[in-house]
């Protein structure tokens, strides 16, 4: 290469341009992702927004909403079109969950659990027969529930006591589960039960249990603070018979699958909390720009501006953590620590944002006539489910410990 000044400068610029295009900013989307996001945004605004308040008050997800979620292809985002799915990517799911959460976090969690937990488990672990039987239905009309937690085992998930006794070619399952989302409408349950309690967590196995299985009892919905439209029920298994062919994956490997799925589901929850925070923020700022006190917009008071800018920064940071964790996972790189960070941070940001938004709205923020108080109630579960904040922090610490172990 020539040593003349001109070409060095030229070469320098060309290389810079090359670097810039290979490392686009995190908020860069493929055309597919962009179109999906626009479509979901419009759908959520027009079809879901009008029903949000009613669903929250009645603690009931409207059947029309569930039907339209399936019709729009939002329940089988990563499932192959061969099985009736959309055939898109993990990042598209994340964007969809974020957009839905801006309007209603309850609807977002329904979509999140289906896509990131249920569908992923079937796609990764299902035998051809199992895929044939369930994937089509999961993309078109059947909701799934993931059953891990029990009354005596939440964070300490592997201390679960639901047991499965082997008989010839079937298992008899006894026990109960708690806090099962989507249970009211689910057609299939992925139940984590232990086939050999003496082996500890190495006996945990994942069973596919159809809703109409005899002995399966779905308890009464919990009366919750937030995410009320999302049903959360206890489950009881009274000598239910599950055929051997209904085992998903391998016997005794359930704990691995649970951890693996929850690592990904974490990013989905981060997206939900992110959407929640953004949706709440988007409702509040216009109000601050309209409301006039002491002769000026409340937005124009420096105290308000500083608070608003601070919250906006936190939301942006949560977005970058979430998107980066999602892209890392898609790239097949290690992402567990980053996923923990995203979930932990987004949940905290959601709490901060919603709390501040109520304050900025003043008296009206405190009433149910405005959507803000619902976001405030909905955000709290973010620090609790799919791994409490303390669990996330401990997991991160383990990774950090390893990193410095040279």
């Amino acid at each position: 290469f020539s040593l003349s000044n001109n070409s060095l400068v030229h070469g320098g610029h060309a290389r810079q341009a090359e670097v810039a295009s290979s490392f686009p900013p995190l908020q860069t989307y493929t055309e597919e992702e962009g179109m999906m996001r626009e479509a979901v945004k419009k759908y959520a605004q027009e079809r879901i927004a009008p029903l949000v308040s009613k669903m929250d008050e009645n603690s009931h997800m409207d059947e029309e909403v569930i039907k339209s979620l399936f019709e729009q292809g939002l329940m089988g985002i990563e499932i192959d079109p061969e099985y009736g799915g959309t055939g898109s990517s993990f990042f598209s799911s994340i964007l969809v969950i974020e957009e839905l959460a801006k309007v209603d976090p309850s609807v977002a969690v329904l979509c999140d659990i289906q896509n990131t937990l249920i569908n992923t488990l079937f796609v990764k672990l299902g035998t051809p027969a199992q895929k044939e039987k369930y994937l089509n239905r999961l993309s078109t009309d059947m909701i799934g529930s993931f059953c891990l937690s029990e009354a005596e085992s939440g964070s300490d998930a592997f201390a679960l006591k639901t047991r499965a006794e082997k008989h010839k070619d079937y298992y008899v399952i006894n026990g109960s589960k708690m806090w099962i989302s989507n249970a009211e409408h689910a057609g299939v349950f992925l139940v984590m039960a232990n086939v050999d309690l003496s082996a500890g967590y190495r006996g945990i196995t994942c069973f596919i249990v159809d809703r109409d299985t005899e002995g399966l009892e779905i308890g009464k919905k919990e009366n919750k603070l937030g995410l009320r439209a999302s049903s959360t029920c206890p489950l009881n298994f009274d000598n239910i018979k599950v055929p051997e062919k209904n085992i998903l994956g391998e016997v005794g490997h359930g704990y691995k699958y649970a951890i693996g799925m929850l690592n990904e589901g974490r990013i989905g929850i981060a997206a939900q909390m992110l959407g929640l925070a953004q949706g709440c923020f988007d409702h509040t700022v216009p109000y601050t720009r309209q409301r006039v006190q002491f002769g000026k917009r409340i937005f124009d008071f420096q105290g308000m501006q500083h608070q608003i800018a601070h919250v906006a920064t936190q939301i942006e940071a949560a977005r970058l953590l979430t998107y980066n964790a999602a892209r890392l996972k898609e790239a097949g790189r290690t992402f567990i620590k980053e996923a923990c960070m995203a979930k932990y941070f987004s949940a905290e940001v959601a709490t901060l944002t919603t709390s501040k938004c109520i304050e900025w709205m003043g008296g009206v923020g405190f009433t149910k006539d405005y959507p803000i108080e619902k976001y405030y109630r909905d955000c709290k579960i973010g620090t609790i489910y799919e791994g409490t904040t303390n669990i996330q922090l401990s997991t991160m610490a383990k990774f950090i410990d390893k990193e410095y172990n040279v």
Binding site: E31, M35, M36, A39, Y43, E46, G85, T86, S88
Partner: protein, 277 residues
């Protein structure tokens, strides 16, 4: 009958966006502003797709005239169920001067080229509110037109149409081929489902046409009007229609065709009423 329907889709500033006038007062800000398909065009696409689902027509072709970004609008039409798209590439100065007359000439030429049985358009675009393209296209092709349609049904080679007019609803029966423009209550457009979006992205069947003197889509993209700020007008003077006409002709706007120029004159309190030349 080919059973082919051409649907015109226009890329416009999204209806929810707050419009801002450019600092030089020559138009509105479009850079970086959210654009989407004209709502009436969505209704037209929906009607075309419905006709195809009823098996009354065979193919829906979405057409858009504009710059590169018009392809996004065509893709939305494909995601709603159109079979293929035609993008007539018009950009830069030509795009600024693109109006109903030019678009209708393009559509007329395409209709002949594609052997279309029906042209479905939105009644008007929400950016210019012209409400002219459908009518002009029909006139150029010498086809019957059913404008402001709120109900469309095909009966053999005729179309039964209900039009929303000032006096109420008008029922007409027209022959095909014809031009129909969609009004608000014709239907409720469907959402593009995610699987359809995926399909539309894999659909490579959008042709690109560049209108110039070499192709059959040669249209005269001559500016029909010019926007000027009334900077040299003074308030407080009695302006009659004759004076106004004189002023306009004197300013030499170089109009190539006789067209309606509407002026708003006067500043502040001394506004006189709108005049036409």
């Amino acid at each position: 009958m080919s059973g082919r329907v051409l649907v015109g889709v226009k890329r416009v500033i999204d209806y929810a966006v707050k419009i801002r006038v450019k600092p030089d007062n020559t138009g509105v800000v479009t850079d970086g502003v959210k654009h989407s398909m004209n709502p009436f065009c969505e209704i037209a696409v929906e009607e075309a797709v419905k006709l195809k689902e009823k098996k009354l027509i065979k193919e829906v072709v979405a057409v858009s005239c504009g710059p590169q970004q018009s392809q996004e609008t065509i893709r939305t039409a494909l995601a709603m169920g159109a079979d293929r798209g035609i993008h007539v590439d018009v950009s830069g100065k030509d795009y600024e001067n693109l109006g109903p007359l030019q678009v209708s000439k393009i559509l007329a030429a395409l209709a002949k080229q594609e052997d279309a049985q029906l042209i479905l358009l939105g009644k008007q675009a929400i950016d210019d509110d012209c409400n002219q393209t459908g009518q002009m296209t029909a006139a150029l092709l010498d086809w019957p037109q059913g404008t402001f349609a709120s109900e469309v049904s095909l009966e053999g080679d005729k179309i039964n149409l209900v039009r929303e007019i000032d006096g109420g609803l008008e029922h007409i029966k027209i022959n095909t081929p014809a031009v129909i423009t969609a009004d608000l209550r014709l239907n409720t457009p469907r959402y593009a489902t995610l699987p359809n979006i995926m399909d539309s992205l894999m659909n490579n069947e959008t042709e690109l046409h560049k209108p110039n003197h070499r192709t059959s889509l040669c249209v005269g993209l001559i500016p029909l009007f010019e926007t000027v700020a009334p900077e040299d007008m003074q308030g407080g003077t009695d302006r009659s229609g004759a004076m106004l006409r004189h002023t306009v002709l004197q300013s030499g706007l170089g109009l190539h065709t006789r067209s309606l120029v509407v002026f708003s004159i006067g500043i502040g309190k001394n506004k006189t009423k709108l005049g036409t030349v």
